[in-house]
Amino acid sequence: MDSIHPVRKVLSPLFLIGGLALLGASLAMDCMGGGPPPFYQYRGLILIAGILLFFAGLYLFPTLTHHRDIVNVIFLFPLLFTFGVTVIIPLLLGIFYSMTDWTGIRYTQFVGLANYAQMFHEVSFLWSLLITVLFVVFNMVLVNLVGFALALLCTSRLKGVGFFRAAYFLPNLIGGIVLGYVWQFVFNNVLVKVTGASLLTKTPSAFAAIIVVYIWQYAGYIMLIYVNGLVTVPGDVLEAAAIDGANAFTTLLRIKIPMIASTITICTFLTLTSAFKQFDVNMALTNGTGSVMDFMGQYLSNGTQMLALNIYNTAISKNSYALGQAKAVLFFIILACVSLVQVRISNSKEVEL
């Protein structure tokens, strides 16, 4: 057991070198778009064979001290690789594109930070930032309040609680685009008989309409998390409170809410990030329309356009892919900061508990 089998000393470097050679050959053939006919056709198989051979060589690497580390790396590799291909590479490419004049098809020059500078001179973009923050604040409060109230209802001893839980959760299962069009029909053709003009035609009421639809969609989901939290509050604590003469309101305020503090943190951040990323309902319901008569001295035509939609429209509809990409990078930075704060707070809470 202590000694390394001599065959491994020979096989390992052989496999490593052979694997890398196959890997390199197949990639080179693909990048150049040609090669010796029988091999070019099977470059995919060659690629896989090269990878397998390389890992076999790595596994047989003649070492005792690091063998376990190597095995760990081999097991970790698929995840790292996937993460790199689907997250890291697109992120780096995106940051690069944001500094060029990319049109979505090609770029001709490197423009440095010009896109970032232009973005902050665009009044409509600042407006989008502003109302996104407003939207987040409204939703963080309202979705949690509604979700928590529904959760209280659905954990009480009413009949048919299971049905109501499912019913409140149902809107969350409908895609945002479908939901947006359904509600657009409701606002434009049904509610219009009550409201006179459609709510979607004026910016403030359209903004309120998006909030209502969003709560309708999301409160059921948050409710489920709160239900789970409330169910875990131990029965003996509640019983003790009841014996001490606490009424329902005091029990809620002094027992239940403190006991589910961590759930509240989770739900708050969940609503925060998801409200920040709001896109589909916004797009289907108003597509960002609505006018602002005077914001920083300008008339704006994107009254209800939130950040994600602004990025999309900048890139797709206005055909400024590079500028849209720059906005997306800013969007990423904001969300990354929020997530970091969330992790901080969650961790410190866990320590307290």
């Binding site: 693909d30 690091h66 409509s124 434009n188 509809s317």
Partner: protein
């Protein structure tokens, strides 16, 4: 050691893939033709199939019929992918391009689209059909756009209602004439059985293109010679508007608003607009010749119930003497340079043959841009377009070259605000100047 090793490994593989990824699209495209015959298992398109992205979803059935005919005749499989309505076709095409999934033939809407695809469209100047039409799209890459129809923008009217009301559409060439005509028809609403004089809709989410592109396009072109780009050039130069002309235009829009269907003007949909017109509830509608296809298919029952009335088109005469409607090829089909070029060109050439023209004209309702085509569409608006063309009373349309997203992100909303009464005429003109300047600066 462990961390170091894993980091190094990840970095090496990431970099090698990134390096390869940079070249991959070009490499794949170049090899696309070479690999397809051999690599049949990969699902790559074979040499005898082409894919066409069509931007007019309303003619999807007719195109699929053509594809079936072509397959029967030549064995070449043509798959039709139709997109339409509010879908951003260019955005989808860019996604296809990035994914290496470009169709062989795709639709381009105008100068800015063709500029985007500069160097990527095949030159078709060697094709016989080029000499048969004057509507092909030509740029520095050669003849890159295959025209397939002619459309017209004017104020569509119900000829039966106008006749009953005693209004001669030929006299509608000045704002004063319109004002008188609208007032006459408005006074006879009950006798004529109409709900409003004009079906003018300004809903900004899904119908922005009607106001922001087509109506606004009349400011740019109405009454001018086909090649006259005075106001388009002015707009292209930093988004400037000619205040006098635009104020006249704004006053005319105000007239439309005054006699419009008030309950629908702000938030009605395209479907409602066409259905109401086809049902004979409006004397005029602010849509162009393409609604003929909807009236005779989706709304055929309502149209028949209203007596399949005759229709026509009047100029948007916001100034005295404007007597032209706007006609143009609304979009073109381009051939992707690295796709199945020869098969695609052959298919497009085949589309100009008699059998194919019959389907395109008689079933898809296209007004053929080809001189050799003997067919006149049964579309309700076909005759009126031909009449205007024969009389030489057409203007070009240049709004296709407007700044991308101008209607969707800017002007559509301004028209809606004007209709809502949030802006008076003077402020409407100011705001329009401001948003155009903003759009062209960005």
């Amino acid at each position: 050691m462990k961390r170091w090793l894993s980091l190094l490994l990840a970095a090496v593989l990431t970099l090698s893939l990134a390096a390869c990824g940079g070249n991959a699209p070009a490499g794949n495209d170049a090899s696309g033709g070479a690999e397809s015959p051999a690599d049949s298992s990969g699902g790559a398109p074979s040499a005898d199939s082409i894919r066409l992205v069509n931007g007019k979803i309303e003619v999807d059935a007719a195109l699929k019929k053509l594809a079936a005919m072509y397959k029967e005749e030549t064995g070449v499989e043509v798959s039709i992918e139709s997109m339409g309505g509010g879908i951003d076709i260019q955005g989808t095409l860019k996604g296809y391009y990035q994914a290496g999934n470009m169709p062989d033939i795709f639709v381009n809407g105008g100068a800015s689209d063709f500029a985007n695809w500069g160097g990527l469209c095949a030159d078709m100047s060697d094709q016989p059909w080029v000499s048969d039409t004057d509507a092909a799209y030509v740029n520095e890459d050669g003849v890159v756009g295959f025209p397939y129809t002619v459309e017209a923008i004017g104020l569509a009217y119900n000829a039966d209602i106008l006749e009953k009301a005693g209004v001669d559409p030929a006299t509608l060439t000045s704002p004063a004439a319109y004002e008188a005509a609208f007032a006459t028809i408005d006074g006879m609403k009950d006798e004529l059985g109409i709900t409003a004089v004009v079906g003018y809709y300004t809903e900004p989410v899904n119908l922005y293109w009607s106001t922001g592109n087509h109506l606004f396009g009349n400011y740019e072109d109405a009454g001018l010679d086909r090649e006259d780009t005075t106001y388009f050039d002015l707009l292209s130069n930093g988004g400037q508007l000619d205040v006098d002309r635009f104020t006249d235009f704004a006053n005319f829009v105000a007239l439309l608003q005054q006699y419009a269907d008030q309950s629908m003007m702000i938030s009605g949909t395209y479907d409602q607009q066409i259905l109401n017109f086809a049902s004979g509830k409006y004397a005029f509608v602010t849509q162009g010749s393409w609604i003929g296809a909807t009236m005779t298919t989706d709304d055929a029952d309502a149209y028949a119930a209203a007596g399949n009335f005759k229709v026509g088109m009047a100029p948007y005469a916001f100034q005295d003497g404007i007597d032209t409607i706007l006609t143009n090829s609304p979009s073109w089909w381009a051939v992707y340079k690295d796709g199945n070029v020869d098969a695609a060109k052959a298919f497009l050439q085949w589309l100009t043959t008699d059998a194919a023209q019959e389907v395109l004209v008689m079933e898809a309702g296209f007004i053929s841009p080809f001189n050799s085509s003997a067919y006149v569409a049964t579309d309700p608006f076909a005759q009126t377009i031909v009449d205007y063309q024969n009389a030489g009373k057409t203007s070009g349309w240049h709004w296709l070259g407007n700044k991308e997203g101008l209607a969707q992100n800017y002007t559509g909303q301004v028209f809606n605000d004007y209709a809502q009464g949030n802006l008076d005429t003077e402020r409407f003109v100011q705001v329009m100047q401001q948003v155009c300047a903003t759009a062209y600066a960005g």
